[in-house]
């Protein structure tokens, strides 16, 4: 009697276990809820309010302090609660934020006139707070990540009741972007900056003037915020905001399908179809200005020979990589700094003309063979190429490049390494390395680093470095563009780099909301105010 019962129970347990196996085999291909919709224009409702806007972030944050982490996810969160003196619009141009107006006559002295605004702790914004914030966020020790955006400053002082003047040591064409929450300034109360134990920790939540006030931060889990009713600008349409860290792509997709998320970051190229099938979903794909390419170390054999560098460059099939591996969600790179960034302060036509001047090593295996034949290793050699585990696309691109190189006799051993190991490997003597640089700010050009004095591959060509230094000191955007183009041209002529692609990023927007003016800069602006309910 009891034996029979036990047997049934045993059988039940095993059936369940096997059922799981069967489901394991079919679940991924199972139909997704919802039907196929194409990104259709949506109608928004001007009077509707949302109780909560839920956003799924693809990265996780341990601190909300941008100035120490420098992470994009930290910028996205900080933009909710804090502001700089200026901010950027969807084209990357500067628009007012805490400063109602600002002016400069010589790109050296910048005068900002503050608007009346209140911090989330209830205190009004004073010039003292602004000066203290500037001094905090340009301090290399307290704020290494934001200090990078601050050139040498002669003085920061309150020059009037509502006026703050920043005077630089030397003119700068890009400084105007620095005091924005997209780059190097988050205005906070002076008292809080001085008394907070650890800025951006769960116990010292960010205090600022942004459209929302952070109420809770659980590292590795989520951030909760409520609407700042005293915000000076147009207010957010959701009463509360919840930013969840969901690092697993598939889990984020399930949560989005389920309707748990209104906005989800980082739709992987290979999942795009599945995401777009979610009812009412719209995918926003934008150029993210990221540059992916190979860097050669001219001090390492055999890459000290330009012929070898050129041979490798000619063996890269950019079109196959962008259209095949990346499903067209990338542009073959023919330069370093993306045209979208070069156009800042000038025009798209100027940027295109500049990129057109750059020499391109076209995909041509015969040319690659010919170059290699001229080198000291005509029959080829073996080298390794490591890629960071955080960017699997680079792994696949590496294998694609390895396949082509094999045909000209070069054996490329591809290796995956943790991202932190990768970012530490620059300039440590590897002959060829991947670089992937996603600039958070429109004025942060990859070339500033890659062609500058502290360049990661350790080349010492004084002409290139000199031109780059001139571009950094340029007083007009046009001058900066011209110098950078010249420096890039030299670097590409010597084939110190082999550009591969300029990337994109895709964000999924659910049926409950719509985004106004989505661009690659969207999440560096006070973005929750630009998310509106659909009708």
């Amino acid at each position: 009697m009891s034996t029979t019962r036990r047997r049934t129970r045993g059988a039940l347990a095993t059936t369940l276990a096997l059922g799981l196996l069967a489901l394991a085999a079919c679940a991924p291909s199972g139909p997704a809820p919802g039907s196929t919709t194409t990104p259709a224009p949506v109608t928004t409702d001007a009077s509707k309010e949302l109780d909560q806007l839920t956003v799924g972030l693809a990265a996780s944050a341990e601190t909300l302090d941008v100035s120490t982490s420098g992470l994009m996810v930290a910028y996205t969160i900080a933009a909710v609660a804090q502001e700089g003196l200026v901010t950027i619009d969807d084209t990357g141009a500067i628009v007012p934020a805490l400063a109602e107006t600002w002016k400069t006559d010589d790109n050296t002295s910048f005068v900002y006139t503050l608007r009346d605004a209140t911090f989330s702790d209830g205190t009004p914004v004073t010039t003292d707070d602004v000066v203290a914030s500037i001094n905090h966020y340009r301090d290399a020790e307290k704020a290494p990540s934001t200090a990078y955006y601050w050139p040498a400053v002669k003085s920061v002082e309150a020059t009037g009741e509502r006026e703050v003047t920043i005077t630089l040591e030397a003119p700068s064409a890009t400084f105007a972007w620095t005091p924005s929450a997209a780059a190097g300034l988050f205005v906070a109360p002076k008292k809080w900056l001085e008394s907070a134990g650890t800025i951006g920790s769960p116990t010292d939540l960010l205090v600022g003037t942004g459209p929302y006030t952070i109420t809770e931060f659980v590292p590795g889990s989520h951030v909760a915020a409520e609407r700042n009713e005293k915000y000076w600008g147009s207010k957010g349409r959701a009463k509360t905001l919840r930013l969840d860290f969901i690092t697993d792509d598939s889990t984020r997709l399930l949560a989005f399908q389920d309707g748990s998320l209104d906005i989800a970051f980082n739709v992987p190229v290979d999942q795009a179809d599945q995401w777009s099938k979610v009812e009412g979903a719209r995918l926003e794909t934008v150029d993210d200005n990221s540059w992916q390419g190979l860097m050669f170390n001219p001090a390492t054999k055999p890459f000290d020979e330009p012929e070898v560098r050129r041979a490798v460059a000619h063996a890269i099939d950019r079109d196959a990589i962008t259209t095949g591996l990346l499903k067209g969600k990338a542009t073959p790179a023919t330069g370093i700094t993306a045209p979208g960034q070069l156009a800042i302060g000038t025009s798209a036509a100027d940027a295109e003309a500049a990129v057109a001047q750059l020499p391109v090593a076209a995909f041509d295996l015969d040319a690659a063979r010919a170059e290699l034949a001229k080198s000291s290793v005509p029959s080829g050699f073996t080298t390794t190429l490591a890629y960071p585990d955080s960017i699997p696309a680079l792994g696949r691109a590496s294998l694609a490049i390895a396949e082509q190189l094999k045909q000209i006799g070069i054996t490329l051993e591809v290796k995956q390494i943790p991202v932190s190991e990768w970012s530490n490997s620059f300039g440590n003597g590897e002959g060829v390395q991947w670089m992937s640089y996603t600039p958070p700010v429109p004025t942060d050009w990859p070339t500033d680093w890659l062609l500058g004095e502290y360049n990661p591959e350790g080349f010492t060509d004084t002409k290139i470095i000199g031109l780059q230094a001139e571009s950094a000191a340029a007083t007009t955007p046009a001058e900066r563009l011209a110098k950078v183009t010249e420096a890039t041209k030299l670097a590409l002529e010597q084939q110190l780099f082999a550009p591969v692609y300029w990337g994109t990023s895709t964000t999924a927007v659910g049926k409950r909301v719509a985004t106004e003016g989505f661009s690659q800069y969207f999440f560096q602006t006070p973005w929750p105010t630009r998310v509106v309910p659909t009708a």
Binding site: D270, Q271, R396, L399, A400, A402, V414, I417
Partner: protein
């Protein structure tokens, strides 16, 4: 408990015995054994190296694409050919890992359990230490200092797997070392190694075998986990674990790219355990399985 009949001799008798034995093999085990046989063939006979050449422009395609019954992976490589070719690296390493760690487990576990005293204290603390050591840290350091490579990975896994084997063996030995039949061998004055080897080990053997079989399954899964640290096989190699982790991105484009190698791992692991358990039971019953 011996069931072998004593009088039959000659080829015919042997054949008859073999048939009887085969008849006693349950269906599940027989199927599992056949599967293992097929996999063994794959391990020994290499698949045509060009069967899974990459086709970057093609990229990932779903199952049923012309010429690719199981579709292609992110690099446009044929999933079926890749899976067949991946058998070798997927299986050889894990088997070595299981054997190696069990060897450590038997030697150290038996010594610790039987000898007790300071040997036990040292071995047990080594076990606690290795168990508590973050595997990731160890793997990163090895990859960074020694460099990657398939066999280095196997070695790292042996070290990581050994503590649980040592503990299992030690626990079992401890239990048996104080049973009367072992005590009596001591009274008889048998040397310690002989007691351990001849009398203790056979008694803990079922546990040793069962753990080792399970370790093959664990190792099959763990090998792939280390690839992303720069250990393990090269990203271009044919390997089930690698297919699995790469295919994860393609779960929605071509599920076969990860489901098929995943199922292969599950099937092999289960088959190894079913067949192994069966053999172990027969050994135990005194049958020469």
């Amino acid at each position: 408990m011996t069931t072998t009949l004593p009088t039959e001799t000659g080829l015919r008798a042997r054949l008859a015995r073999a048939t009887r034995r085969l008849r006693r093999v349950p269906g599940t085990v027989a199927v599992a054994a056949l599967l293992l046989l097929a996999v063994a063939v794959l391990v020994i006979v290499p698949v045509a190296p060009h069967a899974f050449d990459q086709d970057v422009l093609l990229g990932a395609t779903p199952a049923g694409t012309p010429g690719h019954p199981l579709g292609t992976d992110g690099l446009g490589r044929d999933v079926l050919a890749l899976t067949l070719a991946g058998a070798r690296s997927a299986i050889v390493g894990p088997v070595v890992v299981a054997l190696g760690s069990m060897l450590l487990g038997i030697v150290l576990g038996t010594l610790a359990g039987y000898r007790g005293g300071w040997i036990d204290a040292v071995v047990s603390r080594y076990v606690d230490l290795t168990l508590a050591m973050p595997a990731l840290l160890l793997a990163i350091v090895v990859a960074g200092v020694v460099g990657g490579g398939y066999w280095i990975t196997v070695l790292v896994l042996v070290v990581l797997f050994s503590p649980s084997d040592i503990r299992i063996v030690r626990g079992a030995v401890l239990q048996h070392a104080h049973r009367p039949y072992i005590e009596s061998t001591r009274v008889l004055g048998l040397p310690a190694w002989r007691v351990m080897w001849r009398h203790l080990l056979p008694n803990v053997r079922p546990l040793v075998l069962t753990t080792m079989l399970l370790n093959i399954a664990y190792a099959l899964v763990s090998m792939s986990g280390l690839t992303y640290l720069g250990l393990g096989v090269s990203p271009s190699a044919a390997d089930w674990g690698l297919q699995l982790s790469d295919g994860r991105d393609l779960l929605w484009t071509n599920p076969a790219a990860s489901v098929v190698p995943g199922l292969a791992i599950i099937l092999v692991a289960t088959a190894v355990n079913l067949v192994g358990d069966h053999l172990s039971e027969r050994l135990d019953r005194g049958e020469d399985a």
